[in-house]
């Protein structure tokens, strides 16, 4: 019996439960400050813009919600001539 149980493929409901638990933990935490990502993006961009010219459509924002931590990735592309003033070609915040 225990061997049969072991061989039987795991039902999809446990995947559903785990996905729900993870996303709801994040949504509950974000509740009340729904524009957090936008605020972070704006403030990060403002800091970068002090030093280099940033085109708004050359900015990529990625958010990965994980079980223990989330990662926010901000990819900003800027032209070489403005970059000459600052050293790195691409800034990742």
């Amino acid at each position: 019996m225990s061997v049969l149980t072991f061989l039987k493929p795991r039902g999809s409901s446990s995947v559903a439960r785990e996905r729900l638990q993870l996303i709801l933990a994040h949504e509950r935490a974000e509740n009340g400050r729904p524009d957090l990502i936008i605020t972070l993006r704006e403030e990060i961009l403002n800091v970068i813009a002090k030093h280099v010219t940033v085109e708004r459509d050359k900015v990529q924002i990625k958010l990965e919600r994980g079980a223990g931590v989330s990662t926010l990735g901000v990819d900003i592309e800027f032209p070489v001539d403005t970059a000459l003033k600052a050293k790195p070609k691409r800034a990742t915040a």
Partner: protein
């Protein structure tokens, strides 16, 4: 002391209207004076589920705007004299509902009835928030399925922040009704289990309504399932839910219409 009960869910199509009609009728059958109120302005359906669609003259918006008096708009149920329906408007949109109008009508309903059961529209916008605004008790209707559970979580958050009770710092009673549950699929691991949903939403369970043909059958004929076939599995679950709402302690069960082999043979021979 009258109680306002809001049936809500966030997601559409999970069984709010079925549940409103079933609980309303079962409460009335238990001797309570009940009014079921349709808050789904523009997409009313409670009249159809209650079988009163041909008798609608005035609606909730006529009453909140003062174009009709509450008693003129109430439709008395033909099967149960202590059950009434206040239908929603089919032509107006939800912006026609004013906060003050709804507050006044809920006050008037509280004077006339023991239970006011409000059928919320789907969504989390103004219509849904007005439906829950004056509630003392909320029944969150959820299907054992990821999108429904997530939306219920949002609705629970709103119940704890946007209701009059929450704003005053009072407690709002919240209960879960799990609808369209299939024990066999849950056992096989293909459907969220009751405990999974309870653990995620962490509000007390009021009833488990098994998936059943009887619900569609009742809506076809325009009769709350608890009146149409009080002995079928979903009705027994709703009737138990009403006993719990009234304060009784009733052991939780998942009623079933499945007959045992002996039962089947016996029924066939008898028929």
């Amino acid at each position: 002391m009258a109680k306002v009960l809001c049936v809500t869910s966030g997601k559409g199509g999970v069984g709010k209207t079925t549940t409103t009609a079933a609980l309303g009728a079962a409460l009335a059958q238990a001797g309570e004076k009940v009014c079921v109120v349709d808050f789904d302005v523009g997409l009313r359906n409670l009249d159809l589920i209650m079988g009163a669609e041909r008798r609608v003259v005035y609606d909730l918006i006529n009453v909140t705007n003062g174009d009709a008096k509450l008693p003129q708009a109430l439709i008395r149920d033909k099967r149960l004299e202590n059950l009434s329906l206040l239908p929603a408007s089919q032509t107006r949109d939800k912006d026609a509902l004013t906060d003050e109008g709804v507050e006044r009508v809920m006050g008037e309903l509280r004077e006339k009835f023991d239970w006011i059961v409000c059928d919320s529209p789907a969504g989390i916008e103004r219509g849904a928030q007005l439906a829950m605004r004056h509630a003392d008790v909320a029944v969150v209707v959820t299907n054992p399925e990821v999108s429904s559970v997530r939306d219920s979580d949002r609705i629970i958050g709103l119940l704890d922040s946007k209701t009059v009770r929450a704003e005053k710092g009072d407690h709002i009673e919240k209960h879960l009704i799990l609808t369209r549950f299939d024990p066999a699929r849950a056992d096989r691991g293909d459907m969220l289990k009751v405990d999974d949903v309870l653990e995620i939403l962490s509000i007390p369970l009021l009833a488990i309504i098994p998936e059943s043909l009887e619900v569609l059958r009742a809506s076809n004929v325009g009769c709350p399932v608890t009146l149409n076939n009080p002995l079928c599995a979903p009705s027994r679950a709703y009737i138990d839910a009403v006993r719990r709402l009234k304060g009784e302690t009733v052991p939780m069960a998942i009623p079933s219409d499945r007959k045992s082999l002996i039962n089947k043979l016996f029924t066939r021979r008898a028929a």
